[in-house]
Symmetry: C2
Subunit: 736 residues, 2 copies
């Protein structure tokens, strides 16, 4: 297998790191997501530990140190947590395939495992595992597992196991569904019923405490086996015993189909098991879809195998996580963990959307349509706060209703409502669809503007409106005035609203948009907020003793809140989004000022810094931030799920940073200023620019743009702007 | 009965207002407190409703609308709430005396009650109740109840019932203990055992989820009765049936003794029942103690019966609530409700302490000794935040450990640590005990100073230290810089610490004390904090539609937090405490500026405003604030308990406001500037001024000060300063 395409569990098998690999190996069809847990389960990793999670800063939150954490998620299927609000529920786990030889169960915590290899093939999205096991009686057993969440049939999950023993033995296989699971320590399953619907099939019907329902059907297949059924209330399984000869390869297959009450059409899971198809046929149709996906998206890096592999891992999870349905979006853990409760944040617009807009605009549009669909929820949120208009949630459910349990974020991190409009406009510009704003999105533009007009304050003596009491992207400055990022985004949103609003709304929008200040220090420094310089200066070296852990986990929140201390890029993010509004000198000034105060406690931070560093020509720092961003989910980082926004940023660093591509928000035509790392021989990727597919191939000495559309493409590389005829390529030399 | 001494349930009996009367009629021995619930209970007011209380602003919190809310509290006996932390537990209820006539139970929700009168005799602290009841068979029954929490025997609660029927009847009496109660909806009772320890006695042993324990013994006495015992697990009772003749007066008596694991000595509740004493003897010894209390404290108001009665009610609850033990203090609801969870706030020093210091300094010292005793808890709090030294809790338990569940108060309302030192100094000055500061309190002074020296920030460019990120007394400005009140109190505390500290600590204390700024506007206005004028100006009329309810209950918290909007006096409280540091003109300027922004959502607010208004000669406004402060617990205001800090302020308004007495923090000698309301004929009260008892008698035309000590007393009335010989009185004329 090509090492550029295969993520391999490298270290000797280490159950301490199991949760990190469970996150990295998560598979999903967009509809259904399953963490990369071991098929046979560990005897010492119970999944029914109950504890009460409380509202907290997730960055500093400590989760119970479980050895393994199963996860089976369908976005939009929720439990109701008494303290946290709605959360995506962890559903009955169906991966179980537990072999035993002569009555001895495989258990990697206690069995003699001579070797084990787990690998996720990113090209085909198939997870394989092989292991050699010596039983207590001295028999050598080779076990192989393979599994995939069918991209062709999103309700279907397919597994296969092969077993070969070096001596005659009795093999037993146990295959079941276990509903005795928790979501962040909470049991949301109000009712579970198991039934044996055929000699080799189990059905599980479960109801959550919200009333949402999920239905599973599992089929177990093993030639010559006679199954027995066992139902223990919260779990059920089929079990069979067969004799196997020395070196005989036994093949077992398990398929599980899942449906849920939120499905757009009612389906019978039993009918979805596809018993008339062979395993190989299901695998082939699945792999073909992934092949098509990679054709649209793959970013080629030559000269840096590690960057290549981990960027592909990012793209794998971005594609895997997309729901393929505008009724849902992508949560910050990409349905690979429950830490962020399966809710939807501003990550969607700022960190995830660009990848989809420029590789698969149809899927990009599903994400922006999601915001249009949930306008009613945004209206309810505004009303709950005493405002007219629409206010998008900081942590929204599938209805767009606010579910954030922490008041400082929920109340004050208002920029999300403007970010949503930025995302809508980004779709319209990236796809050259101005009618999207004037038609489909017009209500969102107008109603969020009505909210902003009520939310601004005109302070006595100020000739301009202000946004007071806001939290910007930096969550360590909780209640600040005239946050630059927020004000600029709101001004942008109001400008968009003015285009679709009648008078007098239009004039009011324009007046506030023009008036909202970007506060600057006397020397021109863009201030994150009015009061930033009145905050204390910390002695980070004295306080931040373990730099491998977040700063917030080592100091009291009150200290963060009164000090110059950024969780993540704030002014620099503003400058990344609106590059032409700030000179290189101004950006450098902000970089020099804010970087020493920035903890990067948020995974959203390194990527923005990498892109800004590239603009400033700070190549060493850009490289360091790229490495940091690329590594966020490695070495246990994915234990609670994938940091999907950082993975979205990794695409942006590659394409917009090293590739130097401006977005359609930043340029009318395709425009690149590549800045390759010195050791990269090549960076190449497809994009769809305003409906025109193109392929961009960057080498140190030359940039080639292939116009794959049927119209002339205007493209600029550095200062060289050309019109590339349909179907042709243009070569641009690097400036000297 | 003298109407000036008796609080009577005035309106026709109204079960909707029952909870308010339960609060007002609370009785207590300092050790044990019992809400004024009905003896026979209501059939439609279950006490075992379970719900999960969450951290919130108590002012805006909505409690389930129960018809009645029993409360039996021993300060220092806690439950552990999963979200709120430790809280004073509601203990098994033992008031039950339920009569029935011919099998028909008395139930004021459903029985035909022809008249009912409940009255609390403030002079004797005895609650009486009489009612006339017509049974369904037409018999007329007169029932009388009487009860008191023995001031002479703090573990003992004594009850008596008389029944007279106009026709022969069968009377049954049921007397029990019910442990199926909740504390703010939570069941803290981990184990309850009932036993019949004598034919007419029940014992109840209960353990709370903290491990704290409580033990009750109840004795039922009814001549000729034969008791049966009934134990239902969470409740138990004795029941007897006796025939009664027409007009025969049946007398039933019930005594309950309570002990708990936090008692300083182990006692047997059975032995405390005092079965060898007659009811009348117990009543007499109890009443005698209350008579002595009133001699030390009573404030006489002539010409205003309503003010007289409600001020006495304030004093009653202050005396009733004092634990008489330095191991505990007085919580904001005075153990008459669980809303503030029986924890200890800054209310102790600023609102409660003066009454005790000037009427019963020994009891005042118990409150300041409490802070010295809990220094270890304060050290733990500081360490939990990453500081050296000692940090007193915003909401402390009996160990001084922080139990506040809301981070904005817990983290930022730091002034309590300075308020504690102010209280210690107040005791030392009011009792002329300078050694209290240099000896007993010295560790508190030094260790809190160490905390402050770490807590201040020196901002780049500022030549002075700052206290950043604090919440002042006004809780609607959550995270502000250099709050004037906080800075001044901290400077005071550091000045005190310097007196007992070696170098270099001493110099550092003095430098920070001198440096902490009181921020002023260009025109001299004392600013509540640096950023106050950068907050929004609200349209209160548009937002505050129901002025009978708190403002905070009608707007989102985020609006409070970004606006000029005070929950309570902040700068004005500072000016009340340090009157000589601000000119009348400065005080007037602050009054005019802050008053329009002040919601008085806190019960702590009107009293401060009354005293400041009197200083400014704003007599109409002073009167209005006095009325408002006096009424806080009326008309349902006491439903969740007594606002004891406001009651403490009512004494301060009378003595320091209308009486115009300066505290020992404000004057070296006894000094008064009386300002009587026009219709008051007399205001007279005892004080103990630096160990010298005196009686102050203020009439419109003349002030008399009687020196009840054996030394010459220096006293000043208006500008007239005299030396009053021991045992003599001096007469001062009002200035013309």
């Amino acid at each position: 297998m090509d090492a550029h395409w295969e993520l391999v569990e490298t270290e000797p098998f280490d159950s301490e790191r199991l949760r990190g690999w469970e996150g990295l190996f998560t598979q999903g069809s967009g509809y259904l997501h399953v963490r990369g847990s071991l098929e046979e389960h560990l005897s010492d990793a119970p999944q029914n530990l109950t504890y009460l999670r409380r509202p907290a800063n997730v960055t500093a939150e400590q989760f119970p140190s479980l050895k393994a954490k199963w996860g089976t998620f369908i976005p939009g299927i929720y439990g109701e947590h008494p303290l946290m609000g709605k959360e995506m529920a962890n559903l009955p786990a169906f991966l179980e395939i537990a072999p035993a030889i002569d009555g001895e169960r495989l258990d990697v915590s206690h069995s003699a495992i001579l070797s084990q290899r787990r690998a996720l093939n990113l090209q085909t999205a198939v997870l394989t595992r092989t292991l050699r096991w010596r039983t207590q009686s001295g028999k050598m057993v080779e076990v192989g597992f393979e599994r995939f969440a069918s991209a062709a049939r999103p309700h279907l999950f397919v597994q296969r196991m092969t077993v070969r023993c070096d001596a005659p033995a009795h093999l037993s296989v146990r295959a079941g569904i276990n509903s005795d699971v928790r979501t962040s320590g909470f049991d949301h399953l109000a009712r579970v019923d198991f039934a044996r619907i055929a000699p080799d099939q189990i059905r599980c019907d479960a109801a959550l405490d919200t009333g949402d329902e999920v239905h599973l059907a599992t089929w177990a297949s093993l030639a010559g086996a006679s199954w027995t059924f066992h139902d223990t209330g919260r779990a059920a399984h089929l079990e069979a015993f067969i004799p196997c000869e020395a070196e005989q390869v036994i093949v077992f297959e398990k398929r599980t189909a899942v449906t849920a009450s939120a499905d757009s059409q009612r389906l019978d899971p039993t009918a979805l098991l596809m018993l008339d198809r062979r395993y190989e046929a299901l695998l082939a149709e699945h792999a073909q879809i992934w092949q098509q996906r990679w054709q649209r998206t793959d970013v080629l890096i030559e000269g840096d195998a590690e960057s290549q592999l981990y960027l592909r891992l990012a793209l794998y999870h971005l594609m895997r996580a997309h729901p393929g349905d505008s009724r849902f979006a992508i949560d910050p853990k990409a349905a690979a963990g429950d830490a962020y409760r399966g809710l939807y944040f501003w990550d969607t617009e700022m960190y995830l959307l660009p990848f989809f807009l420029y590789t698969d605009p149809e899927r990009g549009r599903m994400l922006t349509d999601f915001r249009i669909r949930t306008l009613e929820g945004a209206r309810r949120n505004a009303a709950a706060y005493g405002y007219r208009g629409a206010r998008y949630p900081w942590e929204g459910d599938a209805d767009g209703v606010e579910q954030c349990p922490n008041w400082q974020y929920r109340d004050h991190e208002v920029h999300v409502t403007a970010d949503v409009v930025y995302g809508l406009a980004h779709y319209a510009r990236a796809t050259d669809s101005p009618e999207y704003l004037t038609q489909q999105a017009a209500d969102v533009l107008r109603e969020t503007a009505v909210y902003w007009l009520e939310r601004v304050d005109w302070r006595p003596g100020d000739p301009y409106p202000s946004l007071l009491g806001v939290m910007g992207p930096d969550e360590y400055t909780p209640i600040s005035h005239n946050n630059a990022y927020t004000n600029r985004l709101v001004a942008f949103a109001l400008d968009q609203a003015a285009l679709v609003s009648p008078e007098p709304l239009k004039s009011r929008c324009l007046a506030v948009a023009r008036g909202l200040p970007i506060v600057r220090r006397a020397d021109g420094l863009v201030m994150q907020c009015e009061e930033f310089e009145r905050l204390a200066v910390l002695d980070f070296d004295a306080l931040w003793l373990d730099r491998s852990q977040p700063f917030a986990a080592q100091v009291a929140q009150e200290r963060l809140y009164r000090s110059r201390c950024l969780k993540q890029a704030d002014v620099l993010l503003l400058m990344m989004l609106f590059p032409d509004e700030f000179s290189d000198q101004e950006v450098r000034q902000a970089w020099d000022y804010y970087l020493p105060y920035t903890t990067h406690d948020s995974s959203l931070s390194p990527g923005v810094h990498a892109i800004i560093a590239l603009r400033l020509g700070l190549l060493d720092q850009a490289w360091a931030f790229w490495q940091r961003s690329l590594a966020i989910d490695r070495d246990g980082g994915a234990a609670e799920g994938i940091h999907i926004a950082a993975q979205g940023m990794n695409w942006q660093i590659a394409v917009c940073g090293f590739g130097g591509m401006r977005t359609a928000m930043q340029s009318e035509h395709l425009r690149l200023t590549p800045r390759l790392p010195a050791h990269w021989a090549r960076l190449a990727f497809p994009v769809i620019w305003k409906r025109q597919p193109a392929y961009i191939d960057i080498r140190p000495e030359q940039v080639t743009i292939e116009n794959r559309s049927d119209r002339t493409l205007t493209a600029q590389v550095y200062d060289d702007r050309r019109a590339i005829p349909a179907g042709e390529s243009a070569h641009f030399s690097a400036p000297r």
